[in-house]
Every structure is written in structure tokens, then in C-alpha cells.
């Protein structure tokens, strides 16, 4: 594929507001996880990645009907890194209807529905009047909100493939641009803390009681985080520098709804497809940001697939020890981290590992290291066996 250039990244995540704050926390090895203190779910003994300030910045004025935790988080993300200015420039350049909005989310504003179910009418069972399905619960709510906030028209869509959602948006954006439907795309991912995912992952016994430890010998589950992230993607002709989307790969496991294929075949296919689409070989990749959730099965199969492609030559690590697993926002958050690594020539290593799983065959990076990077690969794998691998490079 022809590489596309990413002209702006923006994020609000448990490490802070903006790309620089995210980078500083990675460099300084300051994790963003805390013991669960989410109102109404604090009885769960687990750690969470919570974004500071979400509660205190409601969605107001013309978009006030969209107000909910998830859209507040989206708004907080959109306000970082001069993203609105970058989109305004693109809007003038291409026209508002020629910029697609593709947002990954797994639960959108479901927290509002959870709240509404606690306030049902005692006699009729009806939901309270304040509940607005279209503007909060519906998955499209966040895509609709982002499109309106940025004053764009035309294609807007929520992509929801569980934990690969906001990696998939990059692949869809590339196709829409290549097919000529649009000239540019705002892609992103927004998922916020809610009872559905906290208690859902608890029911699967996949929540760790400690800050998650991806790739550790004694890893015992995930820490759930929340995040918003966005990227503005354009054709690369004429670009002089910046991070590119160089390739992507997608596959299905065809194995199980919530367990990965035991030999990592789906993960392998997605990574190989990404390399093939970019026309590069494994040796060109300088760092792999793993999906690495911290569950025993996920990290084991990913190691298997990584080793099959890269042997022990390429440093690999998960940054979920810092951020937690931000579910439908994990793809975009780790794309942003991959972009920062490329710009700064830096591999972040891992956080919280005491002992790397001795069974692992790939090269797990523990400590941060300076490294000249040409390409960085980022993996996202979701329930339903949905795999997506993104390959980022630099404008040549």
C-alpha cells in the first residue's frame, strides 16, 4: 500500500493529557494505574487506569445532549495536542465532507444505560426520562459526537470489534482514502470505565488484583483502563516528515469467542499481512508494541507468533503495565505510543515485570533503550478472535 501520513496525534489517557505527558510518563517509568476507586464499583479488588479530570468537564452547549463519561473523555482527548487546529486546517484544505470520522469503541456510553437500569420506574419498569439511547448508549454516539465537535460532514462510523476496535479504524481509513471516498480521516478510539467491562472481565476471572504484569512469569490478568486517542490521516504526497501508517494486517482466529487460538495463528497472520502490505521484511522492524494484556493465555500465544516472525532479534514489550488495558481504545493509544517511539528513537521496555516468563521465546524488552527505529509494529487482538496489526514508519 501507499503509506499515509499522520499529521496529528492527540490523547487523554491514564498517563496524562497529551502526547508529551504520555511520553514523559513512559520515559520516567511512572505508571498510571491505581487501586480501583471508581464510584459504585470500588468493591472490586483490582487496579484501574483512570483519566484525571473526566468527571469535571461536561459536554455542554450545542452538544450537551451527548454528555456522558465516554463523550467527556472523547472531548478531553480532542482538546489536547492542538488537534482541533490540525483538523480545522484539513477542513479548509479538503472540505468538511471529505474527511471521514472512524472511532473505535467497545462500550461507548453504556455507563448511562447501567445508571438508567438502577433508576427504573418501580411499577412500570420504564427507564428514566433523562436516558438518551442514541446520544449515549449507542456505539455510534461517540462517532457522531466527534464528527459534530470537529464540524465535519460525510462518513462517520463506530467500529466495534472489542479490543481491536481502534486499530481497525486505521485499516478502514486507508481503504476509504485509497478507494477515493474521502481525502483524509480522523481515526480514534474512546472507551471509558464502566460496570459492564469491570464485572464482565471479573466473571471471566481475568482481572488481576495487582497492577497488571504483561509477560511476567506470574502474570494473572488485566488491569482495565480508559482512554481517548485520535489521529489525523492524510495522503503522504508532499509530506516532509512525520509518522506514517505503512501497513496493516487483519485476521480472524476462527477458534473461540474469548480465548485466543492456542498456536497464535491468527496473530501471526495479522502481523505477516502487515509486513507484506508494506513490502518490508521482519528485520526492518525495530520494536513491537505488543497487545500484551497480562493474561496467561494472551501473552503466551502472542509470544509464539512474535517468535515465529522475529525470532529473538526484535525488542518487544507491552505498555499496558503503564496504562492498563484500555479495551476499544488500546489500538489508538498504542499507535500513539508507537508514533512517539519512532519520533524519539526509543523503546519503552516494560513496567511491573519481576521475572520474564521463562517459557517465552521472543525478545522481551525490560528496560528503556535508545534505538534508531524505521518501523514499529503494534498489535491489537479482540474477543471474537478479531486481530489487527498496525505498522508505522517515518516519511522517507
Amino acid at each position: 500500500m501507499k503509506p499515509l501520513v499522520i499529521t496529528c496525534f492527540a490523547t487523554a489517557n491514564p498517563l496524562g493529557l497529551g502526547c508529551e505527558a504520555t511520553s514523559l510518563a513512559l520515559h520516567g517509568r511512572h505508571g498510571g494505574l491505581r487501586h480501583n476507586d471508581l464510584e459504585s464499583a470500588a468493591e472490586l479488588d483490582t487496579w484501574i487506569g483512570r483519566v484525571e479530570g473526566v468527571e469535571s468537564e461536561p459536554v455542554t452547549a450545542r452538544l450537551s445532549e451527548f454528555d456522558c463519561r465516554n463523550n467527556r473523555l472523547a472531548q478531553l482527548g480532542l482538546r489536547q495536542d492542538e488537534f482541533e487546529q490540525a483538523v480545522a486546517r484539513a477542513r479548509r484544505q479538503y472540505g468538511a465532507h471529505r474527511i471521514a470520522v472512524l472511532i473505535g469503541t467497545s462500550t461507548s456510553g453504556i455507563r448511562e444505560c447501567e445508571r438508567a437500569y438502577c433508576e427504573r420506574d418501580a411499577r412500570s419498569g420504564a427507564l428514566p426520562h433523562w436516558f438518551d439511547e442514541r446520544r449515549t448508549l449507542n456505539l455510534y454516539s461517540v462517532a457522531d459526537f466527534v464528527q459534530r465537535y470537529l464540524e465535519l460532514h460525510g462518513v462517520a462510523v463506530a467500529i466495534s470489534t472489542a479490543c481491536s476496535s481502534s486499530a481497525k479504524v486505521f485499516a478502514s481509513a486507508e481503504r476509504l482514502i485509497e478507494a477515493g471516498f474521502v481525502d483524509a480521516a480522523v481515526v480514534g478510539g474512546v472507551d471509558s470505565l464502566c460496570l459492564t467491562t469491570l464485572y464482565g472481565f471479573a466473571s471471566l476471572e481475568l482481572l488481576s488484583r495487582e497492577p497488571c504484569r504483561p509477560c511476567d512469569a506470574h502474570r494473572d490478568g488485566i488491569s482495565i483502563g480508559e482512554a481517548a486517542g485520535f489521529a489525523l490521516i492524510e495522503r503522504a504526497e508532499g509530506a516532509e516528515d512525520g509518522v506514517t501508517l505503512a501497513g496493516y494486517g487483519e485476521s480472524s482466529d476462527a477458534y473461540h469467542m474469548s480465548s485466543p487460538h492456542p498456536d497464535g495463528e491468527g496473530a501471526y497472520r495479522a502481523m505477516q499481512d502487515a509486513l507484506d502490505r508494506a513490502g518490508i521484511v521482519a528485520a526492518d522492524v525495530g520494536y513491537v508494541n505488543m497487545h500484551g494484556t497480562g493474561t496467561p493465555a494472551n501473552d503466551r500465544i502472542e509470544d509464539e507468533a512474535l517468535h515465529r516472525i522475529f525470532g529473538r532479534s526484535v525488542p518487544c514489550s507491552s505498555t499496558k503495565g503503564w496504562t492498563g488495558h484500555t479495551l476499544g481504545a488500546a489500538g489508538i493509544l498504542e499507535a500513539i505510543i508507537a508514533g512517539q517511539c519512532l519520533k524519539q528513537g526509543y523503546v519503552p521496555g516494560s513496567l511491573n515485570i519481576r521475572e520474564v516468563d521463562p517459557a517465552f521465546k521472543s525478545r522481551i524488552a525490560l528496560e528503556p533503550e535508545a534505538r534508531d527505529l524505521r518501523y514499529v509494529l503494534s498489535n491489537s487482538f479482540g474477543f471474537g478472535g478479531n486481530n489487527c496489526c498496525l505498522l508505522f514508519g517515518k516519511v522517507a
Binding site: A116, R148, E178, G200, A254
Partner: protein, 264 residues
């Protein structure tokens, strides 16, 4: 022409038991009669998965299977696009009910069924297909959003795409705040070149400032209220075997225009 080819269809809804019957009704050659459809069997799913899968999964998988059979290709050849506004409303309702109780006991199977890509996941397992799959939502514009995604995939990747759109009514109390109307599912097999089964050739474009093509008049309003029903004016054009431009409502004033030509 740099378009895509509609190479098979699957349909399931009240009075529309399959594409063969739907084609006659949408083509104006047979009267519409409202009859609740039989529960879809979704034979492609292994018995365990059929038991675990939610109702919407069986609907989506049934029409996907019909379209695949109609085109005479295997699941291993087709990438998939699933589009739905509400996913599985029954699962959502049960999850929210459980979370509103003091103990908040959630069933693990229900939780993994609550993901929007549940139908896609079950399909890939049943069909044994490792092809890429995307699941999306654009509220009432979900059909248009899915059609753009599927068309772009065919044009860019040059491979067949199985596009499935479906929505079932929410149970109460959600049904009172979001009216889906009657249940409906449809599947379109889009291919990069014509096949023996091809029904039509399409060119898809995005446009603003137009109005959507009307639903066939013989169909009941409840059926047309389903977000997936935006497929029906386009399928009616195919069923009538005419060349025309069909306009499909998307969202926020945006529409899709499909130039549809019969293919023989």
C-alpha cells in the same frame, strides 16, 4: 467500470423468509404477506456455539449462509463486514439487569456475547474462516456505513466481501426508548468481478443535499423502521431488474448513491 458486483443475497424478516421469495415481493410480482419467520437454524454453527450464541447471531449467520451458498463460494474466500445499530439487545438487557442487582453477578458467556462483533466471531468459528472481519455501527445509517466499508474493501483488496446487516427489536424497557420495528437481516455478497450468480453491477458514491429513495410501498412501516431496511430499496431495484440510481440515507444529511445496473 470500477464498481462492485452483487453476486448473491440473503434475507430474513417477517414475510421475507429468503431471497427467492423476497425477490418476487420486492420485484412487485408477488403480494407481501406478514408472517413471522421461522427461527433461523444457523446450521453452520457447531451445536455448542449455536446454543451459546444469542438470537441476533443466529439471524446474522442465517442470512450470511444464504448469500454464501447463492454465490457458490466458500467462507474461506470472503472477508466479512457486519453492521448493526443495536447488536444483541437481549444480551445488553440481561447484562444491565444483572448489574443493577446488589450482587452484580454477570454470566461470562453473556459478557463475551455482549461484544458488538459477536455475530462475526461466531460466524468465523462456524465457517472456519480466518478472513478479516469488521463490525460497525452508525445508528440508523448502519447499512450505508457498512456498504461503504464493504465496497471499499472490494475495490482496494480485490477480494469478495460478505456484508451482513441486521437489527432485532430491543426487549422492554429499552424498546420504549429505541424503536427498531420488526426484526430484519440481510446479507450481500459483493465481488470484484462478475460471477455466474451475479445479479447487479453497482457504483457507490457519497453525496449530500438529496433525498432517499422510498421504501417499496407494499412493505409495512414496522419493517421499514428497522435500520437494516435501508437495504430494501436497493434490493428492490435489483429485484425489478432495472437500471436506476438508488439513494440511501446515512446520517447527518449525508447519503449514499448507488448506480445499479442489472447483470445478466
Amino acid at each position: 467500470m470500477s464498481g462492485v458486483y452483487l453476486s448473491a443475497v440473503g434475507v430474513l424478516g417477517p414475510g421475507l423468509p429468503d431471497w427467492q421469495v423476497a425477490r418476487e415481493i420486492l420485484g412487485g410480482r408477488r403480494a407481501y404477506q406478514h408472517e413471522p419467520p421461522a427461527q433461523p437454524q444457523a446450521h453452520i454453527l457447531p451445536p455448542n456455539e449455536r446454543r451459546r450464541g444469542a438470537k441476533s447471531v443466529r439471524w446474522a449467520v442465517a442470512v450470511a449462509q444464504e448469500a454464501l451458498n447463492g454465490a457458490g463460494i466458500t467462507a474461506a474466500e470472503a472477508a466479512t463486514v457486519f453492521a448493526s445499530s443495536s447488536g444483541d439487545g437481549e444480551t445488553l438487557h440481561q447484562m444491565c439487569e444483572a448489574l443493577a442487582r446488589p450482587l452484580r453477578e454477570v454470566s461470562p458467556t453473556r459478557f463475551h456475547n455482549s461484544v458488538h462483533n459477536a455475530a462475526a466471531g461466531y460466524w468465523s468459528i462456524g465457517a472456519g474462516s480466518r478472513q478479516p472481519s469488521v463490525t460497525l455501527c452508525a445508528h440508523d445509517g448502519s447499512f450505508a456505513a457498512g456498504l461503504i466499508e464493504a465496497t471499499a474493501q472490494v475495490l482496494v483488496n480485490g477480494t469478495p466481501v460478505l456484508f451482513v446487516v441486521y437489527d432485532l427489536p430491543y426487549p422492554q424497557p429499552l424498546a420504549a426508548v429505541r424503536k427498531i420495528g420488526e426484526p430484519l437481516a440481510a446479507a450481500l455478497l459483493l465481488s470484484p468481478e462478475p460471477r455466474a450468480s451475479t445479479l447487479g453491477a453497482w457504483r457507490v458514491a457519497i453525496c449530500e443535499g438529496v433525498s432517499a429513495t422510498r421504501f417499496p410501498e407494499t412493505l409495512p412501516p414496522g419493517l421499514c423502521a428497522n435500520p437494516a431496511a435501508h437495504a430494501l430499496p436497493l434490493l428492490a431495484s435489483v429485484a425489478r431488474g432495472v437500471s436506476e440510481t438508488v439513494t440511501i440515507s446515512y446520517a447527518n444529511g449525508c447519503h449514499l448513491q448507488v448506480e445499479s445496473q442489472p447483470w445478466r
